[in-house]
């Protein structure tokens, strides 16, 4: 195989002698606390608060004391009336508990602009022509960037966003009130799902914000907190999630309630999986596979159904001394159902495949007994036959060649199954004319939003363009919500007016598809800050030409049918394009 020269520096040296090795302290869990402002006195106040009075610190291990969690994984924040705390659709990594004050949950969502998101542009020919006519002479001009009226930056650089028209939006008939001691945001924090509602401070409010790592530990070691978090999850989300799962359609509320009561929540892998992904990119496939947390082992007998709530899992089977990927599971998909039904029918079979977490996977575990009592008897013989199809071994059939799955292995190894609109280029057809790049630049401030280069497999390149992921880790931690889902198809867009150039999204994106670009003035000179003279930057990425009437310009500009924006969750359409 040809040596890659573009992605990594060429390895030329041997391991340096120990005498010249740079020495650092071993990284520890709390090297980077959630907030540097948390002092011991704040922790004392929190421990004396009614919220934590019942929490027994002795239940926590010495290495992860409750005090340490509160000091390092939590912070106390104050919000002004009208200040947005969380927005519907944003991806958060923390939960909030109201220490003092009150917040309002918006039952009717305000407009995108009121929330600091980009104004939705309806694609039109005239709009495209007007944008082309007004295109800047130099790429990324600061003149195109406004300052959102609702965005405020504090002295320490923290971004705060306020609602416009506070009395109108916070009218009691359009909101629900949460008071002191109540918690919210725990579902998004632990389940890595979008925030389900926008919540705004109703008055000056003091909140305890706990990042997901701390929340996970508190839930693990404090039965009271576990009970409360699980109760909230069952009340607010689980039953709806189960009702949306095909296996449980048409079940009565009572039966769904029983299933919900028996369901256990399990998580696998690292929440911040993109860090591990960056570390593991250079590792071999076998090594990478071994690092993936095992959720279920091939050959074991299942004792319940695993339902993927968020994230992705690799389905693999042993092949001599290695493992080959058979498929991958995403949100709403189940593992072990066929084997469970077969067991219920009296033919006990072990699991045919192993299941491994690809990054962070949040699952629901439903015990066999509940399924056998409430679900399996309701299935028709045809459904049972479909679900157990392929379970019986077929000794006459030769095993499939492992290399036949190489593109699937590639997608899973690179975690591209996360992509809803990945840019695939058929290298057998692509003439490298760069018409796609020029079209992208012509429709985006003279600056293309992707790089026509990326990993390749089987003559197909996954170019470095935003994939508008199912699990958009870039959205976690954006301080202003400038990066957000927009459009009916859930494209991930960046509002240039509220992007403060902090580069959190660019650093989080595992695929490196977000570029920080320096702004220029009308004369093409760089724009710098008044205080430090540092260049002002903003994040840019593919927006899937949401404002173009003909769709993504890269696709329509390719003369050779070599480029497609593909949903990598759909193997059918992908195969159709690959074999067109």
């Amino acid at each position: 195989m040809a040596k890659s020269v573009s992605s990594a520096p060429v390895q030329t040296g041997s391991i340096p002698p120990q005498g010249v090795a740079s020495r650092h302290a071993a990284p520890e869990r709390w090297d980077k606390p959630f907030s540097a402002d948390m002092q011991e006195v704040d922790v004392d106040l929190l421990l004396a608060h009614p919220l934590f009075v019942a929490t027994d610190p002795r239940r926590f291990p010495a290495s992860i004391p409750l005090r340490g969690i509160l000091k390092n994984d939590a912070r106390v924040r104050r919000f002004q009336r009208g200040e947005i705390i969380v927005r519907q659709g944003d991806y958060g990594h923390s939960a909030f508990v109201i220490l003092d004050g009150a917040v309002r949950v918006l039952l009717k969502e305000p407009t995108a602009e009121q929330l600091g998101h980009r104004r939705q542009v309806r694609p039109s020919v005239w709009g495209s022509l007007a944008r082309w006519w007004r295109r800047p002479r130099f790429a990324e001009q600061a003149g195109n960037r406004g300052s959102a009226a609702e965005l405020e930056l504090t002295r320490d650089g923290e971004a705060r966003i306020f609602l416009q028209d506070v009395p109108g939006v916070l009218a009691p008939d359009r909101t629900a009130l949460l008071g002191t001691g109540e918690m919210f945001g725990e579902i998004a924090a632990l389940g890595r799902t979008p925030r389900t509602a926008t919540i705004v401070a109703d008055q000056e409010t003091q909140m305890l914000e706990i990042r997901w790592q701390g929340l996970r530990e508190i839930r693990k070691y404090s039965p009271e907190w576990k009970q409360q978090i699980d109760r909230l999850y069952r009340e607010r989300s689980l039953r709806r999630h189960l009702a949306e799962t095909a296996l449980f359609w048409n079940l009565s509320d009572e039966v769904l309630g029983r299933i919900a009561d028996a369901t256990r929540f399990e998580t696998f892998g690292e929440f911040d999986w993109h860090h591990a992904y960056h570390r593991g990119r250079e590792a071999g496939e076998r090594e990478r596979l071994e690092q993936e947390p095992l959720m279920a082992r091939e050959g074991d007998y299942p004792n319940g159904l695993l339902l993927v709530r968020s994230g992705f899992a690799r389905v693999s089977s042993r092949y001599n001394h290695g493992e080959r990927t058979e498929s991958y599971l995403g949100k709403g998909e189940a593992f072990g159902l066929g084997e469970l039904i077969s067991g219920w029918q009296g033919k006990f079979r072990p699991l045919r495949h192993s299941l491994r977490a690809l990054g962070y996977v949040d699952t629901l575990f439903i015990p066999t007994a509940v399924l056998e009592e409430h679900v399996f008897p309701r299935l028709t013989p045809a459904q049972l036959a479909t679900l157990t199809k392929g379970l019986a071994p077929e000794p006459a059939a030769p095993p499939a060649a492992p290399e036949a799955n190489s593109f699937l292995e590639f997608i899973v190894a690179q975690r591209f199954m996360n992509g809803r609109a990945a840019m695939l280029i058929d290298l057998d057809r692509c003439t490298r004319c760069d018409d796609c790049v020029r079209a992208c630049a012509a429709t985006h401030d003279n600056n293309p939003r992707f790089i026509r280069q990326g990993p390749e497999s089987d003559g197909v390149m996954v170019a470095s363009a935003c994939m508008h992921c199912v699990d958009p880790v870039c959205m976690i931690g954006c301080p202003t919500g400038a990066i957000h889902r927009e459009g009916l198809d859930g494209q991930v867009g960046i509002n240039p007016d509220t992007c403060i150039g902090c580069s959190v999204c660019a650093q989080s994106c595992p695929y490196g598809t977000i570029q920080m670009v320096a702004l220029h003035d009308a004369a093409g000179q760089p724009v710098v800050t008044e205080e430090t003279g540092a260049p002002i930057r903003r994040a840019t990425k593919c927006d899937l030409c949401i404002d173009q009437p003909s769709g993504p310009a890269c696709v329509s500009a390719c003369p050779h049918d070599a480029l497609v924006r593909a949903d990598l969750r759909s193997s059918e359409s992908l195969n159709r394009w690959l074999h067109q």
Partner: protein, 273 residues
Amino acid sequence: MKALTRRRWLLSLTTALLALALTAAWWLAGSALRPVDLYTGWLLLGLLLGLAFFNARKKLPFLPLLAASTWLQIHLYVGWLACVVFALHAGLRPPGGRLELILWFTFLLVALSGIFGLWLSRWLPPRLARSGESLVYERIPRLRHEVEAEVLALVRRAEAETQSTTLADFYLRVLAGYFARRPPLLAPLAGDDARHHRVITELAALRRFLNPRESILADQLGELLEAKRNLDAQWAGQRLLKLWLFVHIPLTYGLLVLVGAHVWLVLHYAHRL
């Protein structure tokens, strides 16, 4: 049948039928002493303008003017049709007049460069894909420079670490010249890079003079040479894929100017102007 193959068959058949129908109409009109040269001339002018608009469409990606792939298909098959109409209009032999002769040859060159480009854009990309990692053309000179610097550093390290000049001599004798050389314009058409194979063969022949540490460094050198081979292949291939357009498009503009002059002259001397 695959979708793209089906499309190719369908469009080829349609174009062939159209060409036959036009030839039949031309023959019938000629038999009826109609001014067929005028008809075919106007038709050819329309076809040429339509063909030239493909390039204009590329400059307007923000307008919903059909996908570029649809335009390319139209361009290809209308191009074949234009060749037939040109043969009906101007004949298969070079004409007598000086302007007409230049026009005749310019059309021929535009058509041939287009056919060459079509063949090249189908033939070369799979070979580039098999050659190795696909790279951005503008980045290749920098990457080549980096590889060259890596090779030089490696050779120097080999000499310093092993007190042996085998690899350094090899660099001076073979590699310096190999890295200084750029692939010729038509190198991608020649297939395998024979020079690269010679260098690799010579490196292999040196193995018996290398100690274990030098052998490890020679392996790394082999990887760098392979990277250089791919850089050259990608650069030369992409250059050729771009360069044929630098022949086809300027010739097209020239053809349109000549066609304009031809039309003006024809109309002028036919007393229609």
